[in-house]
Symmetry: C2
Amino acid sequence: MEITSLTNTKIKQWAKYKEKKYRDADQKFLIEGEHLLQEAHTAGLIECILVEQGKNIPYEQYPVYYVTREILKKLTDSVSGSWVMAVCHFPEQQALTSDKIIILDGVQDPGNLGTILRTALSFSYQTILLSKNSVDVYNEKVIRSTQGALFHLNIIRTELLTAIEELKEKGYKIYGTSLHEAIPLSQVHPKKRHALIMGNEGKGVREEILCQTDQNVYIEMDTFESLNVAVAAAICMYTFKNK
Amino acid sequence: MEITSLTNTKIKQWAKYKEKKYRDADQKFLIEGEHLLQEAHTAGLIECILVEQGKNIPYEQYPVYYVTREILKKLTDSVSGSWVMAVCHFPEQQALTSDKIIILDGVQDPGNLGTILRTALSFSYQTILLSKNSVDVYNEKVIRSTQGALFHLNIIRTELLTAIEELKEKGYKIYGTSLHEAIPLSQVHPKKRHALIMGNEGKGVREEILCQTDQNVYIEMDTFESLNVAVAAAICMYTFKNK
């Protein structure tokens, strides 16, 4: 089917998915590019595909709309753009099953969240808990920087204090990251079943959460600088893995 | 002194510093925001300061220009903008003195370079060698993501193969990062005086460089994913530090 009008009802509806409130309302989001399309297909999340007129895509099982370049531009904020996009539905949330969990308390930057998700998948942190004030995981920039890792993770937006209590009851050991009253990361001997908490870019992990953890750790640095949160998360995940 | 015209000669000249070729020609670059101003002041790099009309700044030792918001907007690509900017001159390049060196072979993303510089400072990699095709260190986005670390590092853009040869003669051990013919990072016992090479986002470190190293290492992951280069650099730097 062809769509050439920027004011087509479907296009207007999909364009709304650039905003979180409409994504949440319909439980749908947009992706772009062949790589993400492949990943979303594997994860079984595709509802329909939008392809630039004159191009082809080998996914005949989905409804395909042939659209103009202007329509594709309307649906994305990325500068480069792509000739293919898809409307996806949110994955079903699974129960907490992985041994290793990342908890993010107020991470705000889409690039940081995306990078953390990508790293988490590499180190088998397959469940991610996000505080309600964290950036939305279906934000266009987050999706782009996860490089598809998003589709292989169980991501849950939740009230962290309650979630941490539940994790403790299930036998998880909870590690916070903090510059105060913490032990050096290299001295930690992590329990296999654990959750690691990373905080907001400026403020770190909230005090009320840090005092609920089993242990807080800091990354040893030579100069008193702060590390980017995605960098700090990666250092912790790799170090925990090799202990 | 006040400047209100967007076509003022000085403003037109400074606006050119948004492009690398003009920065290189005049050996000057722009910064914005109070934090970076403070860092550039400490490093002795400020030539003059631009302040939005009606605001004040406590740096009387420098020429200060009071300018309109439109002028500040013209000089930056950042969305948020700032009420204060400065024109700085390039720092003098120092000889290689630090024990630990980061070599970047074709890193393209400004955010990645900025993050690597910030991490490098935290872990005492005070000298950075950049291949000629790497993103420019005085790129606005790089400066923003270094959070000022830029001003505390010795950054040298150079021909890497020649530089690596010189480093070896000076007794540095050279570590490359690669997924092939490499040993696990956790098994490396790094020499104190060393250089660590990170590569391009898509292609990694060039083959002709990898075959000049003393040892190549890889980061052990659970799933076959690739890590963001700034994340990989951080994991290597932290692990090398704690060996």
